[in-house]
Symmetry: C2
Amino acid sequence: MQYSDRILNTPSSFIRNILKVTDSKDVISFAGGLPNPISFPIDALKASVDHAIGENGSKLFQYSSTQGYAPLREYIAAKYQRVHGLDIQPEDVFITTGSQQALELIGKVLINKGDGIIMEEPGYLGAIQAFTLSEPTFYPVTLENDGLNLEELENALQQKNVKFVYTVPNFQNPTGLTYSKEKREQICEILSKYDVALIEDDPYGELRFQGEPLPYIGAGKLENSILLGSFSKTVTPGMRLGFIITKNKELMQHIETAKQASDLHTNIFSQYVIYDYLANNEYTEHVNKIIALYKEQSDTMLAAMDEFFPAHVTYTKPEGGMFIWATMNNGATALEVFEKAMEQKVAFVPGDPFYTSKTGVNTLRLNYTNATPEVIREGIKRLGSIL
Amino acid sequence: MQYSDRILNTPSSFIRNILKVTDSKDVISFAGGLPNPISFPIDALKASVDHAIGENGSKLFQYSSTQGYAPLREYIAAKYQRVHGLDIQPEDVFITTGSQQALELIGKVLINKGDGIIMEEPGYLGAIQAFTLSEPTFYPVTLENDGLNLEELENALQQKNVKFVYTVPNFQNPTGLTYSKEKREQICEILSKYDVALIEDDPYGELRFQGEPLPYIGAGKLENSILLGSFSKTVTPGMRLGFIITKNKELMQHIETAKQASDLHTNIFSQYVIYDYLANNEYTEHVNKIIALYKEQSDTMLAAMDEFFPAHVTYTKPEGGMFIWATMNNGATALEVFEKAMEQKVAFVPGDPFYTSKTGVNTLRLNYTNATPEVIREGIKRLGSIL
């Protein structure tokens, strides 16, 4: 068989391959990006299954609409009005099979082979993977401590056929960095002069344990604003529910066609259940518990890094989310260090798959949400011994 | 915004657009393709939710593996061994977000722009839609009463870069036709001489209410055999669970990469629930009830057509599945008749979207699974009055 060019060029998930190696019981793994399972509201979701079936019967089990369950879209729209002051209507919300599908659908509807995508560097590898299926040209723009480098952004926008800019403005994956208010305004100002879309992918935004929430970069301001959200980090990833918010009707129409062709519609059973859960539980209280948990884990990891890491290693201090990003300044590469770390039974993700333009990098991603403080401290101690 | 060529060329679902028109309460609709909701084993599935959560806890709610839940893949492999005598192992089975996603993933991994796909004509419009995203050249081959026209098939196989042949061998959508044993063997013989894959899409195969089950065309015989299956027609479509079976390891590897990039993995909550349902219930008995129901509905529709349709209308007599296909031989087109039918408050799907090479056709699809015998009779009577 001859396979397609785009699949031959799509990297298989580096992280998923790593996870196969790091999965043994005696390895302390900071490699995953999994929410802590104690954050799943299992009993409440179980009650919502019974309640939703009781109220709606066979509708949970039948084929359903491509754009998603209307009450769930209404709930999301109302929340973005209330929390973010944005004029979002139910018809501006589209339910996807997780945020990952949102990325892939957007690539499908906007990218012809060779068209430009401006990516944060380092950037979310799931997005790189999803977009690669559309065979784009990536224009990486350095992600600094307060957001994209503006000069590089302006240069990248001069390139031919740039269709969109992809950002994770809050507690970015992989770096944990958050765009400053000023940088957000500057980026919005720059993008307002170009016919490009802005994707703000925000799976972690609610998980802020420090500092003040900031307005989105482009939502409510830019005509081609696309916001992505997810229930994976606050309720459950296993049900694969994410959403796209945009007020661009033509874009929405094309996304609907792409979704029909891709999987008809998102699991409607899970949409009913999650909606019932959201409508009948104290969601904010639930999220506050996750925030308290992750803050303790992040604090523990940072304190251990202060104690055990050599001086040449610098690292980010996240205000929320799930990740810390470390940079080694002693000439070592992350892939070399990964081998040594595995000998010490501790794992992380080498920075390489988060870059579209380079390999052999000196950066690495650490996840803190899925281990106890004791285990985090022990893992960082082991890692410090070989850095 | 400039949209991608492939999305501009992808038809939005004709049927879903029709359903918006036909959705009013006083319309008798034979347009959908929905399983009868009384066939959903709701109580048993609800019990399986409790049971699966009780046994596996947070695993139903966490991220999971791309290829799908191992016990579900084992169940499927064992079933194809037992029922079809095929050497299928769990690693030959891959779980997808419905069969629709299986089609889209196969297009992604095999088709470069312009590559050839041989399609039944008329053929399943969801497949046409899914494959169109990969910008193929379609080579239609006439579907006769016993399967593909062999001469046209041989000619189509001479075309450049043909990657696969797409078939629905049992109770085809839209025609309800089933390939004969002889035609299956002839097609297998022909395809064994070419480096192309054969997709056998079989969502309805278990719903046979007449005649003997037949062996697959290529499964177990052709190296590049791809079987597709689904739980949508026998358990529930709302949970979006389908599967791909192939023994081609390289193809499977590429499908896994495409799936990772497309939505990471299929809803794991639903995979646990369906597996628990299958493991703890009398599935065969359940399917036999659906078969009895659909047989009665099909018999009723055929008897009403005999009574009320004019002589110039011919139609298929399905041995299973969900559809009857009618052909008008009085010069009328299906789209004209659709308008008149809507005045009579009865709906069907005009044949047009099932063809890749023509419009203005004289054929139409009737679904019988979602109405009572009384309603079926009344609807066919109304339709007969304007044919």
